[in-house]
């Protein structure tokens, strides 16, 4: 039990300075050569994959998931089991539409399809939801800092906010994919070392963990209960979690921005594909650490901290050799900065693109908009800071982020589905559906005892149904309003031209279709993950 030593503090400072130096150094050198613009071109796929994971998971997972595992074992894995299925929908439906439309903010698509009111309302919902969730993202590393330094959490929130806002305004540190890779490596190293130190401190090693886990039902990840009040039943995970993740990865600008910035559809698909494959194993790893920690606490007769988010940081600081703890805590910091950077940036981009340049100053100079964008970053940083003060009351941090999203995301996803799939729906229907979807989520969650995971399903179903029905009361949209969601080549005369050109052009040969192959791979992965969980549960229950 060494605590956070002077050596750890030195390692922490050196690591953060090193990451900042790598970011600025590469940032400068990358001007003019290809790497500056399309950073991933010469970088191996695995590095891009880790970079994607760094943005998607990072510090929040490191801090929140062990708390989950400690409390409920692997039961909450069902929240993520649907991710491969959600990615299939995104790859097949959303990415091609968004890319073809040539949009900077996804809410622009709603304006072209339904008019300005729908765009404004959905962009506003994004700002509110993502702003609140950013508060949780800010709270997480502040908590780690508070644990290791002994300072108050509120003070560390303010320090973290000042740091995060400053470097986002200066252009961000995550300019280089390699810094994300280092961060991800350090976080996973921290997780694997935690497992190593925990297991070696248990007299029976792994067998103690499996015995304790099996006896206390911690490996019961699959609950087949049809009762909708069971929060983590398989059905809540499949039905509710599926819509949660389609909405989260598909209609949240902070997540989809990477997809919109990808040079091609295939690159965009690849980044989603990596999330589809790695998110479940990563979550499993950190939940398992929670199970091991539970065994450790039980065997050593320890009392867990009141806030379970502190579990792993506390363990790292107390059990890791001097210097190593500093490295892991620094990794958490840097990874949190990377997430904060992209969240604050997307909030500011939507503020300027969807509100400021749309309603307040439509024809200002570039310099003016860039300044407005920096001011918006500061504003959202302050908004997130205020919310971060209350984030500690929300329970495990990952769940807090997802629950905040679930109030809005279902209705938002329903509106996008109407825009893409229903060519009869119009502006009035979309707005009515969006409002009705959110009201339904609010009503159901306040009046009925059902799993919060179903919030997204309710939001989607209500917004699509009401949106479509209300649309029938007014005229159908004009053809130009459908141009972004209808495949251009479907017009009969165009079909004739394409048929003739295609028929007389040389043949390509037979190759397996990439998108189809990618989706089948994700489907098999989903089956494999579910099968493995069922096997583990079967073994644990004899």
């Amino acid at each position: 039990m060494e605590g956070f030593t002077f050596v750890d503090m030195v390692v922490l400072i050196v690591y953060i300075s090193l990451i900042a130096w790598i970011g600025s150094r590469f940032g400068k050198d990358q001007y003019s050569p290809e790497d500056y613009f399309l950073g991933g071109r010469k970088i191996p796929g695995w590095a891009i994959g880790l970079s994607v994971m760094a943005t998607q998971a990072s510090a929040i997972t490191f801090i929140g998931a062990p708390g989950w595992g400690f409390e409920g074992g692997l039961e909450r894995l069902v929240t993520f089991i649907n991710v491969p299925l959600a990615m299939i929908v995104l790859i097949m439906v959303f990415v091609p539409v968004f890319h073809r439309a040539g949009i900077y903010s996804i809410y622009e698509l709603l304006e072209r399809r339904f008019g300005p009111a729908t765009r404004t309302l959905s962009a506003l919902l994004f700002l509110i939801a993502r702003g609140l969730a950013t508060g949780v993202v800010l709270y997480a590393p502040a908590l780690v800092l508070a644990v290791v330094t002994g300072w108050s959490v509120n003070l560390t929130i303010i320090i973290m906010a000042v740091l995060a806002i400053s470097y986002t305004v200066l252009g961000g540190m995550s300019a280089v994919i390699w810094t994300d890779v280092i961060q991800m490596f350090v976080l996973w190293l921290g997780a694997l070392l935690s497992i190593f130190f925990l297991i070696t401190s248990l007299p029976g090693g792994w067998s103690d963990v499996f015995t304790f886990g099996a006896q206390s039902g911690m490996f019961n990840a699959i609950d087949l209960s049809l009762d909708p009040s069971v929060t983590y039943s398989l059905w809540a995970g499949l039905l509710g979690g599926f819509f949660l993740h389609v909405a989260y990865f598909g209609t949240d600008q902070s997540q989809i921005q990477r997809v919109l910035s990808s040079p091609s559809v295939l690159d965009a698909q690849r980044s989603l594909l990596i999330g589809g494959y790695l998110l479940i194993p990563q979550m499993l790893l950190f939940l398992f650490i929670g199970v091991i920690l539970a065994t450790y606490y039980q065997q050593h007769g320890l009392t867990p901290p009141e806030d379970l988010n502190e579990l792993l940081p506390r363990y790292v600081v107390n059990a890791f050799p001097s210097g190593m703890a500093g490295l892991v805590i620094a990794g958490v910091f840097a990874a949190a900065m990377s997430s904060l950077d992209s969240a604050l940036n997307s909030l500011s981009a939507v503020t300027v693109r969807d509100f400021y340049s749309r309603y307040i100053k439509p024809d200002a100079s570039d310099a003016h908009y860039l300044k407005a964008s920096r001011l918006a970053t500061i504003f959202w940083g302050l908004y997130a800071t205020l919310f971060a003060f209350f984030a500690g009351n929300l329970g495990p941090v990952i769940e807090a982020v997802n629950q905040i999203g679930s109030w809005f995301y279902g209705a938002l996803l329903g509106t996008f589905l109407l825009a893409i799939f229903s060519h009869r729906s119009n502006a009035r229907g979309a707005v009515a559906g969006l409002i009705a979807g959110m009201l339904a989520v609010w009503l159901v969650s306040s009046l009925m005892d059902i799993s919060w995971l179903y919030n997204n399903t309710i939001g989607v179903v209500v917004s699509v149904s009401i949106g479509y029905l209300v649309s029938l009361t007014t005229s159908a949209p004009r053809p130009e309003q459908l141009s972004d969601v209808i495949i251009e080549e479907t017009a009969p005369d165009m079909q004739a031209i394409l048929a003739s050109r295609g028929a007389s052009a040389p043949e390509v040969g037979h190759e397996a279709r990439l998108t189809r192959r990618r989706c089948i791979g994700l489907l098999l992965w989903f089956g494999l993950m579910l099968g493995l969980l069922a096997l583990l549960q079967g073994w644990a229950n004899g």
Partner: protein
Amino acid sequence: MAERLTLARQLNEKAARQRLGRLGAHTLEPAWVALWAAPLGLPGKPPGAWLLGAEEMRRALLLTGTELPAQAERPGPGIQLTGATPPAYEAIRRLWLWERIATPRLWRIQALDIPPTPVWLPCWLGYRAGRQHQLTVISGLSGEVLSMLKALILGGLADAYRHAQTPGEKACSPSDIIQEERKSIGTRV
């Protein structure tokens, strides 16, 4: 008006065949699209990249490199699609502004105050026959899918068809016209 530069086709037919096959296309042909390239970089320094666009495009394409990869020869075999109109400098600058705001690491890079250069962008068009006929456009430079060019190319193909039909004023089937047009421009893919 400046002469249109021809960007050298870097993806040969074999590579395009493989790429389009993986994207589900059954047949392919080369094409050249008329676009305009605006230089990007730090003021007073040589360009670091180029923004390829046209007035009709909502978002421009990014081509990296200090110089445009041009060839001395005129465009080779393939249909030439000239339907696009040149973008105004202001429009290019604004397009780049939104790219910069979306990606902070691009903040320092500006659209340089130099008129856009007209270019021929080499592409490969892949056709898929099924319940509906589909078109896939990939870049002849990198092989990337260029979904954003699709509307422009479909418009160009329709224009080429109409243009070929007008002179004789006789009703021809699209396939007759395409055969004629391929003969006239010497397409051999």
